[in-house]
């Protein structure tokens, strides 16, 4: 077999570190000051992947019951990351948690329910991780965009409110832009898939020795899943963010309006 699964030894990994040394050398030479970051990144990736490898070996080897725990840890980490990005939105962590969970639960649920993927950790965990990391980025994008836009267009938003419109009506055009903005990356990625880059799932299957025809089928399922998951995350994040940027009396929250006269 010409495939790479099971063929890479720790010695091979050590040899691959030579490429990191190249990166460090270039960084030195061009005085980018990134050597420290490269070292930290290399060490972190090594430790994180080692840990994940252990956990997955255990879960795949009979610890199936731990699958939800692994997914929950991923959702938790995504929540912390996305929540910190959107922290000028009140309740950002809560919004991130809900959007990411909705995206992961919704899409994984559909895939399992329709029997497209088996209810096994080997399927649920990698697919879940892809949805979760994508939904995390989407939730961050939507929260930030909405907050920035409603702040920058305070006058327009309040002009709408002053005419007696609801918060939902007054924010509709910026809400639409934010959701669109959150979904665009995955839509563009889906358009050029295979032409610009061979995406991760497909690459992985090819390296592991699968035939291209089965690799593309998995990639299709992954792309469609990510489209659905991101749309879900954008929808939920948009709704919740709007509800947190206005009071129940259809007023912009105070931190968004700095009135000067």
């Amino acid at each position: 077999m010409n495939d790479l699964s099971g063929r890479i030894s720790w010695a091979d990994v050590g040899l691959a570190l030579l490429l990191v040394a190249v990166a460090v050398a270039i960084s030195r030479m061009r005085r980018t000051g990134l050597e420290g970051d490269i070292a930290v990144a290399t060490f972190r990736s090594f430790a994180q992947l080692l840990a994940v490898g252990f956990v997955l070996d255990f879960v795949f080897g009979g610890g199936t019951a731990l699958t939800p725990v692994v997914l929950l840890v991923m959702v938790g980490t995504a929540t912390l990351t996305s929540g910190a990005r959107g922290k000028r939105v009140p309740g950002a962590y809560w919004i991130a948690a809900t959007s990411v969970s909705a995206a992961a639960g919704g899409t994984l649920g559909v895939l399992l329910l329709l029997g497209i993927v088996p209810a096994a950790p080997r399927a649920a965990i990698p697919l879940g991780s892809m949805i979760i990391s994508n939904a995390m980025n989407t939730a961050s994008l939507v929260m930030r965009r909405l907050r920035d836009d409603l702040g920058a267009h305070r006058r327009e938003v309040e002009a709408h409110l002053s005419l007696g419109e609801t918060a939902a009506e007054a924010s509709a055009s910026w809400h639409r832009t934010a959701v669109r903005n959150g979904m665009l990356p995955i839509v563009d990625q889906t358009k050029v898939v295979g032409l610009v880059a061979l995406p991760g799932a497909m690459t992985g299957m090819l390296l592991a020795g699968a035939s291209p025809s089965s690799a593309i089928k998995l990639q299709m399922v992954v792309m469609y899943m990510l489209l659905g998951g991101n749309a879900f995350a954008a929808l939920v994040a948009g709704r919740l963010t709007v509800s947190r940027l206005f009071t129940s009396d259809h007023q912009l929250i105070r931190s968004l309006r700095r009135v000067s006269d």
Binding site: R155, S162, G164, H250, V259, S260, D261
Partner: protein, 198 residues
């Protein structure tokens, strides 16, 4: 005629110090009331309390003798229309901005009916401010709140809009206007509330 609005011991907190500290005043239902004061005195904030773009941190604001918070906020804002300092036009034509009664309303604010088909963002600032007044009047309000309504206008446009505001007050609308200009306040208004420095 009785009071349309009343401020009772109103306090509004800012980031560090209060923007308004214990303010009380009455605004009668008839005519034009000007609130005048230097910049930073909290005039805009006081105006925004009347249609609940903002709420006081202490005290109450009454409309026709009832706390403004006891009304449905959307209905309150329909009755009490607010027009800001810089005219805000929405995308689309003037007609789309103003609504079905556009012809009649444009005439009422002194704009040519032909402007109805023009893109709202192609109006001059003076025309845009008149259009904003028309859009507010389209909601059939009982009160108009005007925040420095002429500060973005040149001298000629300013005189025109001042005349329009005066005639709206004469037609029976309660008009509350905020201005930094004591001359404008005393020439135009039926009464002047001096906000002063806190």
């Amino acid at each position: 005629m009785g009071d349309r609005f009343e401020y009772r011991n109103v306090r509004v907190d800012g980031d560090s110090a209060p923007i308004i500290e214990s303010f009380s005043a009455r605004i009668p239902a008839d005519g034009l009331t000007a609130m005048v004061g230097p910049s930073g005195a909290g005039k805009t904030t006081l105006l925004r309390l009347l249609n609940r773009l903002d709420d006081p941190d202490a005290g109450e604001v009454l409309l026709d003798g009832r706390d403004v918070r006891s009304y449905d906020v959307l209905e309150l804002r329909r009755r009490v229309q607010y027009v800001g300092q810089v005219p805000v036009t929405f995308p689309g034509t003037v007609a789309a901005n103003v609504g079905p009664e556009v012809e009649h309303l444009l005439a009422r604010v002194g704009l040519d009916a032909a402007l109805g088909w023009r893109d709202a963002d192609r109006l001059s600032v003076g025309e845009a401010q008149r259009m904003c007044l028309a859009r507010a009047l389209a909601r059939h309000p009982e009160c108009l709140l005007l925040d420095e309504p002429t500060s973005a206008l040149d001298t000629i446009a300013k005189a025109g809009v001042e005349g329009l505001i005066r005639s709206l007050a004469d037609e029976g609308l309660t008009v509350v206007m905020v201005t930094h200009d004591p001359r404008q306040a005393s020439e135009l208004a039926d009464r002047v509330l001096d906000i002063g420095l806190r």
